[in-house]
Subunit: 321 residues, 2 copies
Amino acid sequence: MGEFELIRRYFAAAPCAQAAEGVALGIGDDCALLQPGPGQQLAVSTDTLVAGVHFPDSCDPSLLGQRALAVAASDLAAMGAAPLAFTLAMTLPQADPAWLEAFARGLSQMAEACGLALVGGDTTRGPLCLTLTVFGQVPTGQALTRRGARPGDLLCVGGSLGDGSGALPLVLGQQVAQGEAAEYLLARYWAPQPQLALGQWLRGKASAALDISDGLLADCGHIAAASGLALRIEQDRLPLAPALRALAGSGALDCALSGGDDYRLAFTLPPELLPALLAQWPEAVVIGQAKAGQGVQLIDGQGRHIEPPRAGYQHFGSSGD
Amino acid sequence: MGEFELIRRYFAAAPCAQAAEGVALGIGDDCALLQPGPGQQLAVSTDTLVAGVHFPDSCDPSLLGQRALAVAASDLAAMGAAPLAFTLAMTLPQADPAWLEAFARGLSQMAEACGLALVGGDTTRGPLCLTLTVFGQVPTGQALTRRGARPGDLLCVGGSLGDGSGALPLVLGQQVAQGEAAEYLLARYWAPQPQLALGQWLRGKASAALDISDGLLADCGHIAAASGLALRIEQDRLPLAPALRALAGSGALDCALSGGDDYRLAFTLPPELLPALLAQWPEAVVIGQAKAGQGVQLIDGQGRHIEPPRAGYQHFGSSGD
């Protein structure tokens, strides 16, 4: 038996690969079999992370396992899907038992936090690269898409913005910091918690939704384009965590607008549903409104238009090419 | 817009990404939405192909597109699943328009032949690597697994064996040949046709099934282990294509036993169903029988046990590490 066959058996025995609701057949046959509930559609999303492009080659494998699954699961949250399962395609230069043990540990932690079961995948030799495909279920017709926003809807986000990109100088070793603020940002980078419960709560309420991976401005541009309207963002309303302000200083706003890697939901909501939202999700914040028109407009506290910072910030993120 | 965003739009406009039955939402949102029919389970399988490991770096991208999807779709055939959709995660060193156009053409050809719609994926920069995840549906409880074979069942294969590995010396440029035999073997390597219709016909008939990717002996070992019995293979019954005999000579038998990359179905069938099988699938061949015991036994025309050739043949195949 080759070392890669051993890896396959190792993952098949991992805690996250055990029996789970909605999984009729897991690892070990030609296919896994998923059993969505009656009247449910299956939501599917795929994300690839490449060493040296989306994460540093030498990063902690346990953190990498957490992050890889969190990034993928965030797309389920964005559709309002209930998590079911995932597959892991892993290309590795060699089989290093310590690396694998740590990676599987981080992966299993995030899988348990998200309620996702590992049902299959592939293990191959080559330059380090991970492709995760996640599966969730959502009642037919209730998935949150990007195209339903209406003028007058409020533009909301599920929590603080910019933490992930604010952590990057720490991740890359360009900035050295310790203490609570650094720990907070690093945790937000390596283990962002997909807003799965919020996404499911928003079914039938939000008119459009997505998760912020490319950066607030770019992602709001996706909603604006798909819905055929404009989104006006009030810069002063952006929720910036104290840790981000402390470590990124005057760059905090740029992190929130363009940094990406937030994995918070951004969504549009009819104004009459705002009290219900804030009662259930006090960390959610209104940052603007949908209007007739097109594109994303940024305004200051006096309602004046601001030229947005240039996007396309180079980073180790899920959206990096 | 970056070159990789252009690639994403390019694939979103490809023929294989258009509307299809069972696909409620395709490329362009956070997730795709699949809608299996009532009473259906969703079959899922993931395969990764790495340049320099599973295919030569310089291979024809159109052929690579065909092969990558065929290899993945063969797992749906092995479960008796009806094809629905697939995702493509593609890591590329650069965006080369001619390469991409040819790859997408080959991919779309195989997608049309298989009845699979492209519903999502990811495009990232890095060493060339492809991960495809395929989706099919199968009525609940009717999927073909590896574990139901019973003593007395016939062991059958869906057609000629060894063609894929017999083609390898041609693929790798170690052997130069032209004419019909070479063309046949190269077509079998680059565009194996997943036996999707045969797999669906076998629902409720075959007691166990898989597709031969690792080689006949290794894969029959999987059925034997999962079903808790022995499989006896009669070497003289192995279907060897004339083209394979012509080009591989005395190595043809080893190709059939251990070469891998066949993507034919191997399955066990109660003997009373053999006439129905051969009436519908004349290219199917009985090659042995299931017995009490364990492991795979190889016998010659006189019923004498033969020592199987060593497996683990190094090759560019989907099963290579």
